[in-house]
């Protein structure tokens, strides 16, 4: 912290320590059906839809009262219910929407928009059963500063990440990286292996080095998300599903609401029904790694790597936050998880 550039970065990111998130399933409908989709696993997909604008407004007002400052609108496909999304935005103006990008979310909803990409259009057609996905996603979000494309690495699309990144770079768009994390009970071909994790690590590093203006990521993001150990084993997950403490932090404030506006502490995390031992999800890491500031404050390199991770998290999730150049260009090992 004594180094001026580290202190300066810390002061920049700490202004966002007030962010307290919860997530909301907006509808149980989707316009595509993907292999390995976390939403259509477990009980939450069977929750009834509540489409009453006043009920949603009241929920968000009560969320605001209990200190929630950031919302993530997710499952199954929020773009199908834009009026509900707008009702949320009117009450809590900081947030992000996870979408497949096939239907444009109105500009009035000024949240960060995460457009999910699962490979090139051939692979998307095979896994998501939708033709011309990337072309349609790019057309919908061209020149839209809300959008960041989230490339989910699976064992079968690692070599396509370059093609997608080049295309997005040529069109002035941003991309960040996610890892396919198996839903509970999933044993299909999208589950990563030690070999695919190693290859993903290599490709991520190449793309980050070659496209620094396009790729929102850092060397420490690569370390945290491509290790054979999942996020919980590396950092101890702080979401209620894995964290019994209700005294402070996510264990106290985080909720994951289903489409019927109910929540269940035992299932509460950002990607419910994901197999926790296989979880390397970008949204999980954004909270789990970020929360572990103290243990990263061991030496300038480790703390710089953590700051790069937080800087990436804010650039990916918060509208208007601009990513800085990474402070530390080499990978560092995660601190011990005692």
């Amino acid at each position: 912290m004594a180094e001026p550039r580290i202190r300066k970065r810390f002061e920049k990111v700490r202004r966002y320590f007030f962010l307290r998130e919860s997530t909301y399933d907006m509808t149980n409908r989707c316009n595509i059906r993907c292999e390995g989709c976390y939403y259509f696993t477990g009980e939450k997909q069977f929750a009834a839809e509540n489409n009453d604008l006043e009920d949603w407004r009241q929920l968000l007002e009560s969320e605001k009262k209990r200190g929630i400052t950031f919302v993530v609108l997710a499952g199954a496909e929020p773009s199908l219910v834009p009026r509900l999304c707008e009702a949320c935005y009117r009450v809590i103006p900081l947030g992000a929407i996870a979408t497949n990008g096939l239907k444009t979310i109105p500009r009035e909803i000024d949240y960060r928009i995460h457009v999910s990409v699962w490979g090139n259009d051939r692979t998307s057609l095979a896994i998501r059963k939708a033709p011309d996905m990337l072309a349609r996603q790019m057309a919908n979000y061209r020149d839209d500063p809300r959008a960041v494309f989230v490339y989910t690495f699976t064992p079968v699309n690692i070599e396509e990440a370059r093609e997608v990144t080049e295309l997005l770079a040529a069109n002035g768009m941003k991309i960040t990286f996610n890892m396919f994390s198996a839903p509970v009970g999933y044993s299909g071909y999208l589950r990563h292996t030690p070999q695919t994790l190693a290859r993903t690590e290599q490709v991520m590093a190449e793309l980050l080095a070659e496209f620094p203006a396009t790729v929102l990521f850092s060397p420490y993001n690569i370390v945290a998300h491509t290790r054979q150990q999942g996020l919980h084993e590396l950092f101890s997950c702080s979401y209620p599903r894995m964290n019994p403490s209700t005294s402070i932090g996510l264990g106290r404030s985080f909720r994951q609401y289903r489409t019927d506006l109910r929540w269940d502490r035992d299932a509460a995390c950002c990607v419910p029904d994901t197999d926790c031992t296989d979880c390397r999800h970008y949204a999980a890491g954004s909270a789990v790694v970020t929360a572990r500031m103290y243990r990263h404050a061991t030496d300038p390199a480790t703390f710089s790597a953590w700051l790069d991770y937080v800087d990436t998290y804010l650039a990916v999730w918060v509208r208007g936050y601009e990513k800085e150049p990474n402070l530390h260009d080499a990978p560092v090992a995660p601190p011990p998880n005692n």
């Binding site: 200190g67 402070i248 404030s253 929360a291 103290y294 404050a297």
Partner: protein, 88 residues
């Protein structure tokens, strides 16, 4: 011991006020028995920030698992005092 604890309480209060930029309160008016989460409104990242400063000031390590126990300034002061006394 009581004097030492009171000194530690004042120092910790100053650190919290400075680090979290709390307004309308001074080390003299800050109640050391206020619940920091429920009544002051600090969260885990605030506590981690304070823990980093306390580590540098007192040369002690505050375990992440201990955060939930550190609910008031007085409890933090006693925690530090115990660490210093036991030489941990």
């Amino acid at each position: 011991m009581t004097t030492d604890i009171n000194q530690t309480i004042t120092q910790i209060t100053e650190i919290i006020i400075n680090e979290l930029k709390l307004e309308d309160v001074t080390p003299q008016t800050f109640d050391p028995d206020l619940d920091l989460v429920d009544e002051v409104g600090i969260d885990s990242m605030d506590l981690a920030t304070i823990a980093l400063v306390l580590r540098d000031v007192y040369g002690i390590r505050i375990e992440e698992d201990d955060y939930p126990k550190l609910t008031t300034v007085r409890i933090i002061a006693e925690y530090i005092d115990n660490k210093l006394t036991s030489g941990e």
